[in-house]
């Protein structure tokens, strides 16, 4: 069981520093993605964008600061099962995630 130290409790992470703030990460299967833009519309973090060469526009993570909150709404809406979160957000200091395992779909047996 992981706990926070008093020093960590007082520490605020700097969100645009990759060593202090790890936002959610999604994996996009570019072969399955047909660029329908549904995930870009649904994304509450405004993280995704459809771009690429002509006739091959696919969903991709926007450049710059990503605010992905690993909600997986993009997976829930995707008709082609092309996108899913692989890593949830985590921060140093006060907001460090405690006692979590890897992301998983609802499990009937574990």
């Amino acid at each position: 069981m992981t706990l926070l130290t008093k020093k960590e409790m007082k520490r605020m992470p700097i969100v645009d520093d990759a060593s202090e703030a790890q936002f959610g990460v999604v994996a996009i299967d570019l072969d399955k993605c047909n660029g329908c833009k549904m995930c870009t519309i649904i994304c509450p973090g405004n993280v995704l964008e459809v771009y690429g060469p002509k006739h091959d526009k696919k969903a991709r993570i926007k450049e710059g600061l990503s605010l992905c909150l690993s909600c997986d709404n993009c997976h829930a809406i995707c008709e082609h099962d092309a996108i899913t979160i692989v890593q949830a957000y985590d921060f140093v200091g006060r907001y460090k995630q405690l006692n979590r395992g890897a992301p998983s779909q609802p499990r009937l047996k574990y």
Binding site: D16, I41, H75, A76, I77, C78, P103, Q105
Partner: protein
């Protein structure tokens, strides 16, 4: 006990037995039942159809909310339903303005590292964090930032907003009871094919005397959260989602175990 009463009691007991045997019939790995599936497939909806939800459906889901469990049966809530599009837009604009005001001095990501402006914003944020640490968690901080830049919405333009006001005199922890009544409401709405989204940033309205008057928020009530309700646009609930597993401390037969 009269014969009739005894008979009725026996029937009740038999009913309970039936329910219990039904539970024990479920084997490990059996598929999710309808209610479990509804909970697993519910998503927060942020794109609504323009069509208004019939008033009787809103009253229906409020009625389900009324039967939520609460500490000491104190029911520390009062509902406000806003179905006036212009008013919802005004609420949206007010909250977005508040986000802009807060974001301005706090948003250090707008300045380059090493500059004075950056140092100043970071210092203000750290002071702010001492006062209200949970509000400057990177995720709401990011949401406020996006709203300030017009890249995200507060209420998401729903046709109806349900505001469960909290009676601050509630027994124990009235915030928890408010969450439970809200869960009843959103699950009832979900079962009727409606989409909902909790709106935490609506709490800005609680600090505005004008909005308190317009929404009828008077002592001892407090506006904590709002729930946007409307018809779902598209199919955002086709698949279930992945979520992190959580460490669970399992205590049985004197043995402590950790499971995920």
């Amino acid at each position: 006990m009269s014969d009739i009463a005894k008979e009725a009691f026996d029937v009740k007991i038999a009913g309970t037995d039936q329910q219990e045997s039904k539970t024990s019939e479920i084997e490990e790995g059996d598929p999710w039942n309808t209610i479990e599936d509804a909970f697993l497939k519910r998503r927060s909806i942020r794109k609504f159809k323009k069509k208004q939800v019939p008033a009787h459906l809103i009253r229906r889901i409020l009625e389900v909310g009324r039967f939520a469990p609460s500490q000491g049966n104190c029911q520390p809530w009062k509902f406000v339903v806003v179905r006036d599009r212009e008013m919802i837009t005004e609420m949206e604009n007010f909250c977005a303005d508040m986000c802009r005001k807060i974001n301005g001095p706090l948003d250090y990501t707008a300045h380059k590292k090493g500059t004075f402006a950056r140092w100043r914003s970071e210092s203000i944020l750290k002071l702010f964090a001492k006062w209200q640490p949970s509000t400057v968690h990177p995720i709401p901080f990011g949401a406020v930032n996006l709203i300030a830049k017009n890249r995200f919405k507060v209420f998401h333009h729903p046709p109806t907003v349900i505001i469960p006001l909290m009676d601050t005199r509630g027994i124990g922890h009235p915030e928890v009871d408010l969450g439970i009544v809200g869960t009843n409401i959103i699950m009832a709405a979900h079962s009727l094919g409606l989409g909902t989204c909790w709106v935490g940033l609506a709490s800005f309205l609680n600090n505005s005397p004008e909005w308190r008057e317009r929404l009828g928020v008077e002592e001892p009530y407090s506006l904590v959260e709002a729930i946007s309700v409307g018809y779902v646009l598209g199919k955002p609930m086709q698949n279930t989602v992945s979520r992190e597993t959580h460490e669970t401390l399992w205590i049985e037969d004197g043995i402590k175990d950790l499971i995920y």
